[in-house]
Every structure is written in C-alpha cells, then in structure tokens.
C-alpha cells in the first residue's frame, strides 16, 4: 500500500480492511462504472456530442434539471419550516411526525410512483378537485404573468405530465433538507438569539439576520442533496410523468429508451454525462459540508 502516508495507529487490520474495501469498491462500483467510460471512448467527439446533445436530450436535461431544481427549492422552503417546527416546538405526536419524515427513504420508489398516480390522476382522491384548480391557475398565470413562458404547462394535467414529475421529486427529496437542517438547528445556541433580542432586534430581524445565515450552509447542502437525487430518480417518476418526448421525458428514461433501441453507445453516452454531473454535485456537497462544519467551529 504505497498510499499509506502516516499510519499513526497501532491497531491491527489496516491492510486487510483497506484491501477488502478497495477490492469490493473496485469490483462492484469502479470497474462497472469504468465500463461506461470505456464504451464511450470508442466514439469520436462529434459522435459523442451528437449522442448527448440531440434536441430530445436537451429537452430532457432542461426538464430533469429544471424540475429537480424547482422541487429542491420547494423542499428547501417547506423542509426548513418542518425542521424548525420539529426542533423548536413541542406538540403531541412530534416523534411520529419526526419518524415519518424518513418515509421517502424507506418507501420503494415504485410504490411512491403508483401511490402518487392514484392520488393525483383526474379520477384520484386529490386530482379530482385539484386538477381543475391547477388548470385554471395556470390559465390565470399565463394571462397575468406573461413574462414567463407558460406554454409547456398550459393545459397540463397533474398526473401523467410535468406537474407529476414535480410531485414525485418533491416527495423523494423532502427528507434530505429536513435531516441536514435538524442537527444544525438543534445545536444553534439560544444565547445568540437572546443576545440579538437584548440588543434590540425584533423577532423578524433575529430570524433573518441571525438564524438564517447560521442555517444557510446546511440548507444549501440539503438542497443540493435533494437536487442530485432528483436528477437521477427513475422509479417514481416513470409512473407519473406521461413520458412524452420533448415535453415530459426525463433523462434517465432516455437512457432506457436508447438501450431498448439497441443504441448502447447512445445510452452509455448519456450515462456518462449524468455520471460526471453527479460526481461534480457530490464533490460540491462534500465541500459544502466541510464549509458548514468550519463555519460552526468558529
């Protein structure tokens, strides 16, 4: 192990555990992932670009990124409130609510997908009355907020359309924000707020100028995690998306579609784009986490 620079520990088993870890990581993750890169390395740059930048793919990137972003923003907002309520308030059933926040981690995505369909389809419990409201709302927005292009949303349904993707990704992403914020919120020292109050800040000023900046790194981390997960999500989305090319087709679905049309290279090229993206996001998240830790040590 030439990478061992400083083995300060006298504990035995370093070679064994590191060797096993690297071997297992290599066999299960790295070698299979490298297959994707090697497969695309046979393509010329022009071929690669053609494969990953077709109009249908561009539309799917816009959709996957756009809706993941939207869902992550909504989760950052509501997740923030949920975390605040769970940490700061006492109310009967708080433990149950707290446990429930992890449901999207534990519930299989396919189950979430069909459950959301059953709820939000036009003949579903919620869709029945919410769908007309949604359609009306978008119509109203399109006439009153003309500077945003509503064409992609006009006449859309809740389920089997773009809003369905948003619903699924919001469901999937919620725990990330809550669970990254919770510990930071709990560690927040009341003295800080008390000091602010003593110095004459009103509650609103304390919230926005003292608490919010403290929470920001964790909030961004949670947001980034929810966003990264949203981009790759497949199971829950395919059931509810409608899967219409150029309109409601997510990028992971296009990988499957390409694969099913014998276009292995095309499928792999898209996979490589997504892999690089997720790796970059992961690096960003790790950096953010380091930043937030340092931030709090000060």
């Amino acid at each position: 192990m030439s990478s061992v620079a400083s083995r300060r520990s006298v504990l035995p088993g370093f070679g064994l555990s590191l060797g096993f870890t690297l071997a297992y990581l290599g066999l299960i993750v790295l070698i299979p992932l490298s297959a994707a890169f090697i497969k695309t390395s046979g393509m010329t740059w022009a071929e690669f670009v053609a494969a990953v930048a077709s109009p249908r793919l561009i539309a799917s990137y816009k959709l996957s990124f756009g809706i993941s972003l939207l869902a992550a923003i909504v989760n950052a907002f509501f997740g923030g409130i949920v975390a605040w309520v769970l940490v700061r308030y006492t109310f009967p059933g708080r433990r149950v609510v707290d446990a429930l926040v992890d449901l999207p981690f534990a519930l299989p995505t396919a189950v979430a997908g069909i459950a959301l369909c059953a709820l939000y389809a036009r003949n579903g419990w919620v869709g029945e009355w919410l769908d007309p409201i949604w359609a009306g709302g978008i119509k109203w927005l399109s006439t009153h907020v003309p500077w945003i292009d509503w064409a992609g949303w006009l006449g859309s349904k809740l389920a089997y359309d773009r809003p369905g993707i948003f619903l699924a990704l919001t469901f999937i992403g919620l725990p990330f924000v809550v669970r990254t914020l919770q510990p930071v919120l709990a560690e927040l020292e009341p003295e800080l707020e008390e000091a602010a109050a003593t110095l004459g800040a009103n509650r609103w000023q304390t919230m926005t100028r003292v608490i919010f900046p403290e929470l920001l790194p964790a909030l961004i981390t949670g947001f980034a995690l929810a966003f990264a997960r949203g981009i790759g999500e497949y199971g829950s989305v395919v059931f509810i998306a409608g899967n219409q090319p150029l309109h409601s087709e997510i990028t992971p679905l296009l990988i499957i579609t390409k694969l099913e049309q014998y276009d292995y290279r095309g499928a792999t090229a898209i996979a490589v784009v997504m892999l690089v993206t997720s790796f970059l996001l992961l690096l960003l998240i790790n950096l953010l986490q380091k930043w937030s830790r340092r931030y709090y040590r000060l």
Partner: protein, 306 residues
C-alpha cells in the same frame, strides 16, 4: 442517498421545550409554521401512504388477501427476500471494513475514498443497471464468454457451466448491491470517528488480539449504528426498482422482484393486486421507520448528549 443526511452520529439530543421566552416566536407565527409544516407533510407523506392501503383494500379485505394467492407473487416475495439476504450482508461486511480503515487510520487519498463510496448514492439507478448490462450482456464484454457464449477457447466450457448473470438472480443481486452499497459504511464512518481508538488501544494493551478487540470492544460500541445502517440498507434493497428493472428480463415467477411485480400488476389493470403487494412494501417501510426511531431512542439513552 440517505447516508449523508440521516447519520446516527450526527443526530443531536433535542431541546425543544426549554426555549427561553424572549426568543420564542409569537403565537401566530407558530400557528402558521405548524400549519405549513404539518399540512405539507400530510399532503406529501401521509396521503400517498394512505392511498396505498386504501387502493389495496378498495374491493374489500377478501380481494386484498386473494391477491396473495398468486404463485407469481409468492415467487416475487421470495426473490426480494433472497436478494436482500445476499445484498445486505455483503454490504454489511464491506461497510464494517471500510469504516474500520477510514475511521481508525489516516492515509493519503482517504477523502477520495469516502467520495467514491458515496458515488452510488448519486448515480441514477438506471445507470447502475446499464453498466452491468454493458459488462454481462450478451453484446457486452464478458457476456459472450458466459452462458450462451460461443467463444472459440472458453465457449464450450462456459456453455456447460451455464453461468447467467443478467436476466437472472445474480444480476439482480449485483444491481441491488450497487445501489445499496454506501448505506452501512456511511452510517459507521462518522460513528467510529467520534468514538476514537482509545478503547481499542486499551484492549490491545491488556493483551487482546486484534479479532478479540474487534468483536468485544468495537462491535458492542457500534452495534446500534450497525443495525441502523442495516435496516436502511434493507429497505432500499427490497424496494429498488430502476436498477433491477434493467437487468431483470421480467420473467414472471422467476426474475420479478416485488417492485417489478407491482409494475406488472399495475399494467395488467390489476390495481388492487398491485397495491396489495405495494402495501407489503409500505408496511416494511413503516416497520423500518419504527425500528429506526427505536434505535435513535436507544442511542440517545446509551450515550447522553454531551
């Protein structure tokens, strides 16, 4: 991707009740916050969960139980259990080994290793299915040598062995291992890091062997974290859809796991049966949550907040 966010080690002891007065929000703010938070959770978490059970029981309890009479459902349940029974222990062993070398030692490239371990969280499940297809598919790298291959040198021999990877149980297990890869490791690393090495040193000084130290000192210290990682890993292993659907081949009664069978039933207009199977997985999710809360509670009991 649960790891970074739900780590047991990062879980603080909560102090909700004793908030001093001056920094409490006014009543109306609290009411608004509570309404928003609980309303949001009700819409996004409780309703879908309720929908699963309501749809499953829509035609009565008889129809619900009748859904489980189908032998294909039995085989899907068996396959799901089997997959989890292999994937979870495999990742458990890996998780302990990885946490041991990462938490107990310092070495160059450690943070890169941690990032690589996290990678499967960030990779779309579809991609994890695809890469195994690239390797083990008949048009892939190793596929031609396996099973139905007719490689000039090894073809004959491998033909007789008939090793099936994709479209068979091994492929499903591999894909599942991939997507559940980081759960145990992610759980143990921070926990073991905060615990430090002192107890292990003490044991070694007192003459214990390495294995004895591991089993008698380390394992008791990390057991709740271990259990915690295992139940999360298990929940994901049983529920994985995207990765498994790519490598399954959807042979009824043979290579369909429960989530895949749900899709099949759903597409067969058999929504009661689809939701009935889904309700089993939803129950599993609820049990997971209960166990998880229990572990957090035990953890808080055994290690009072500093």
């Amino acid at each position: 991707m649960a790891g970074p966010a739900t780590s047991l080690a990062a879980k603080p002891a909560r102090s909700g009740a004793g908030t001093p007065r001056v920094i409490r929000n006014p009543l109306w703010v609290r009411v608004v916050f509570m309404t928003l938070a609980l309303g949001f959770l009700a819409c996004f978490l409780v309703l879908p969960l309720a929908a699963v059970f309501a749809e499953a029981l829509r035609k009565g309890i008889g129809a619900y139980f009748h859904s489980f009479a189908d032998p294909d459902v039995h085989s899907a349940i068996r396959l799901t259990l089997l997959t989890a029974a292999i994937a979870v222990p495999a990742n458990l062993v890996f998780g302990v080994a990885a946490a041991w070398c990462i938490a107990k030692y310092d070495f160059r490239g450690k943070s890169l290793l941690v990032t690589l371990i996290d990678l499967p969280f960030a990779v779309s499940p579809v991609i994890s299915g695809l890469i195994y297809m690239l390797i083990f598919g008949l048009q892939g790298w190793l596929g031609p040598y396996l099973g139905a291959g007719d490689h000039p040198w090894f073809g004959e021999w491998f033909n007789q062995q008939d090793i099936k990877i994709v479209f068979a149980v091994p492929g499903i297990v591999l894909a599942t291992i991939f997507v559940t890869f980081p759960f145990v490791a992610r759980e143990l690393i921070p926990l073991m890091q905060t615990q430090g090495n002192d107890e292990e040193y003490a044991a070694l000084t007192l003459g214990a062997t390495g294995w004895q130290t591991f089993w008698r000192v380390t394992v008791p210290n990390i057991k709740w974290g271990l259990f915690y990682g295992v139940i999360l890993c298990n929940a994901r292993a049983m529920g994985e859809f995207g990765a498994v659907s790519v490598v399954s081949g959807k042979i009824r009664g043979e290579t369909t796991t429960m989530p895949l069978h749900i899709e099949i039933l759903y597409n067969e207009n058999n929504s009661v049966a689809a939701f009935a199977v889904a309700s089993l997985l939803a129950l599993l999710a609820l049990v997971t949550l209960v166990l998880k809360s229990f572990i957090e509670w035990r953890h808080a009991q055994s290690r009072p907040a500093v």
